[in-house]
Symmetry: C2
Subunit: 164 residues, 2 copies
């Protein structure tokens, strides 16, 4: 009798401490990196990214992408696997990846498309001068543009107003 | 000789394919949930959350918190462990947790503090009428306020403009 009561109690405890699982099945928690570099510290929002860029006096890289866009996925592969890019971004940049546009028009100098990489100087100036290879989508990159992308990262590292 | 060459080649391949690891050591990838419910689908930004709220005709819960704020952590514990809250939020709400303020003043009707929970109707109306127990911080909740919080979730579920 006591044993039975104990069993019921144990079951009750087990049920009440079970974590919520959606009807559709357990989900893998979403990461902020979304596969663009799990070891980087990603800002969540543009406001947060600007805060850190100003505070740390580091340039900001804003990367617009979509998870169902093949061009984004191709660029993500080479981007995330390039240790030089990952190290430089980790050590010298504030990074943000977004799948939804912000209300700030300065982040879409020639329109809204993906993938699109916009650099922002810690003085809060969008570096519209740092562009890729395509005249109709100036801030787009393809896997073949990795070398140009790397040289653009170096350009963005040279701040507009250097500290004295 | 061939063996030695092969070894060198293997080492080179191993080095070149090694993933980037920060000098400070490997990091655990950040999640969007930040411990507030790993099974919920969190929006990343306010813009994204509004987009989903409108599209799905669901109310939005915006939760402001800080990871080094003991009040936030206490509330997070009861919030994340309550299956009723987790299920309702998962099935009937769009959810967003933020550690940095947005530029939208409507999200801080009585100031910026944490923890703070603001509900937004899919008509884009901030539900400033859904408040907690504290007159000086009307959108703050403590673990003891869980029952009130749950009834506020139910209030937010009743949309301002119901579909015909």
């Amino acid at each position: 009798m006591i044993k039975a009561a104990l069993s019921v109690l144990l079951v009750l405890v087990a049920v009440s401490s079970a974590k919520y699982i959606p009807k559709s099945g357990k989900r893998i928690p979403q990461t902020l990196s979304r596969g663009w570099g799990d070891q980087l510290i990603w800002a969540q929002t543009y406001e947060e990214a600007l805060y850190w860029a100003r505070l740390r006096n580091k340039p900001l890289m804003v990367l617009f992408h979509l998870e169902d866009c093949p061009h984004s996925l191709e660029f993500k592969k080479v981007f995330s696997e390039d240790n030089g890019i990952q190290r430089t971004l980790d050590e010298d940049f504030i990074v943000l990846n977004l799948m939804y546009e912000t209300t700030d028009k300065h982040l879409s100098p020639d329109g809204q498309y993906v993938p699109r990489v916009i650099f922002v100087d810690p003085t809060m100036t969008v570096r519209a001068d740092i562009i890729g290879r395509y005249s109709n989508r100036m801030y787009a990159y393809e896997p073949a543009d990795l070398k140009l992308f790397k040289s653009n990262i170096e350009k963005a590292k040279k701040l507009l107003k250097s500290e004295l």
